[in-house]
């Protein structure tokens, strides 16, 4: 967060978009620009590369990977909701072996920056995943998806318990090279997001990704049963944006020095700007990618222009700006 501010609100002297310095950092990870994909909304980048060059955006956050191959939940896995969607994919994926053999090297070859999202059912599993990734190399950052049920604690979700969350973060941090930041990805479905955030940071998280989906349900009024085979699912999209933004705001307010990767319902550059102003040093574009497969690239373009229009010379000057008194 900059304290000597070159921006004057109200009388912006527009900067040419091409000259805005869009670079940013997430801990020790340096990004040419602050727009990334969101985990689970971009696969491992290959498919989206048909629509835009994935090396051009800040980074590709890959689908949360688990130790073993996993077939996920039964279908139906999706329901459209007002300005949102519910998903219940159940972390289908090829497992870490195939991921490290095929997906990560592909991203590195493209010149893309890979943020590897990992998911596990136990602290040990998370630790093993981090070790495998360290040994393989190529990851610019690790995002720890702690919104998974802890199989050792009656399926209680890690992200809902400060202690469980901290244990996972610690295990991953320990197994990861110092120069690779470890971000904990928080769930908004908690009473006190700041407490969870603090617990993760105390356990060694270099930053926080916020937020994951909200737990929701939709009932089919014809079959009169839940639409999703998994009954409940994760709500994403613009519908949740105010909630995700509030989480970013609260955590940045409480811990302004902790970098945040913000996400939740970002469709446009102005949405991304809201997250930056609330305190996010970078953003992930998720569900919108389903609507517009080149959304991350477009959001980057729009954000750059929005900053230029407002007279910003550096993206980083916008980060957290909304917390300053008017």
């Amino acid at each position: 967060m900059s304290t000597t501010l070159t921006v004057r609100v109200g009388t912006p002297a527009a900067t040419p978009a091409s000259t805005v310095d869009m670079s940013t950092t997430l801990g020790r990870f340096e990004l040419p620009n602050p727009v990334l994909t969101a985990s689970g909304c971009a696969g491992a980048g290959r498919e989206l590369n048909q629509f835009f060059d994935v090396a051009q955006i800040g980074g590709v956050v890959t689908k949360s990977i688990m130790l073993r191959p996993r077939s996920g939940r039964p279908t139906a896995r999706m329901a459209e909701t007002p300005s949102g969607m519910l998903n219940s994919i159940g972390l289908q994926g090829p497992g870490i072996d195939v991921f490290l053999e095929k997906d990560l090297p592909w991203l590195v070859e493209q010149g893309a920056r890979a943020v590897v999202s990992i998911a596990g059912g136990s602290v040990e599993e998370f630790g093993k995943l981090a070790t495998r990734i360290r040994d393989a190399g190529g990851a610019s950052m690790i995002e720890v998806n702690i919104s998974c049920p802890n199989v050792e604690d009656r399926g209680q979700v890690f992200a809902c318990d400060p202690r469980a969350a901290a244990n996972v973060v610690q295990a991953v941090r320990r197994a990861t090279r110092a120069e690779v930041p470890v971000f904990a990805k928080l769930s908004p479905d908690v009473t006190d997001i700041v407490a969870i955030a603090r617990s993760c940071v105390d356990a060694g998280a270099d930053g926080l990704s916020m937020t994951n989906t909200l737990l929701g349900i939709v009932i089919d009024t014809d079959t009169m049963r839940p639409v999703l085979a998994g009954v409940t699912g994760g709500l994403s999209g613009p519908a949740i944006r105010p909630v995700a933004l509030r989480c970013v705001w609260q955590v940045h307010q409480a811990m302004p020095e902790v970098p945040i990767l913000g996400m939740g319902g970002i469709r446009t550059g102005l949405d991304a700007l809201q997250f930056a102003l609330a305190g996010a040093s970078a953003v992930s574009v998720g569900t919108e990618t389903f609507h517009d497969p080149s959304a991350p690239m477009r959001v980057l373009r729009e954000l750059t222009k929005a900053l230029a229009d407002r007279g910003f010379e550096r993206f980083s000057d916008a980060v957290g700006l909304a917390h300053q008194p008017r």
Partner: protein
Amino acid sequence: MTPVQVTGEVLSLRRIGAYNAMTVVAPGVAESAKPGQFVTVAVGGPDTSMLMRRPFSIYQVRERGVYGGTVEFVFSVEGRGTRWLAHMQPHEPIDIVGPLGKPFALPREPATCVLVGGGYGSAPLFPLADALRERGCRIDFVIGAATEERLFGALDAKRISATLSVTTDDGSVGLRGRVSDPLPEVLATTKADVVYACGPMPMLRAVSRIAEEAGIPCQIAVEEMMACGVGVCMTCVLPVVGDDGETRMVRSCVDGPVFHGERVRFDDIGTIPADAVGAPEPPPEPKPVGKRAAKAQQVAEAVR
């Protein structure tokens, strides 16, 4: 064959029986489309509450119309998105992505091909028929629907096929019954080499069974809910047996929508078969079988 996203323009929208056929100027989509592929369109306009693109099979393609390549698709008004589409006007912009998915595989040699279409599922069989005829194949059509007005393309089918069989559920035209009912006989009399089918899942199951029993290869185009349509979200999976004999939950948007009928585990759609790659460890309780039991268990487990 890589898909593109373009802001197309609605060229025309016409009624065909119970359906709407929309032609869109969509340069880049039209040129590379192959039979069996689909497009997705954004619905609802800029301030809509509907985020999901709607997938439609490609019906006709003209590579160089007066206005550039056009794509036509046939749709039925089912819900909010298709209702919105049905109210579009010529010249309005429409956001379209395609061509998507794996197309039908064509026989190398001239062959006798039976094309089975249910409802609007007949639509993608017409470009397929054109491609097959170009290769000197014989076409026999079997077309069915619930009612006469939901039959699609019977007249056109008659023109281009050696034989045409028609069924309706209510018997309003053709045979009363399912589109699969006349199929065994059609396969026998035509000495069919291959079956292509598109339509609702129960129909595809029946057709696949009949083809399998007759020992004839069968390609089907399935329709699953899709969030992204481009392979990144894993919404659209179904259990399919691979070349190695293993069942995997594969994406119908990029690994399909066309599959070999005998490879699709129809009875297990809506479940994760216990022998699928990456299936959950069997729980301590007796393993549930089939969709009903799975659902019951999920309901019980839903909220931990």
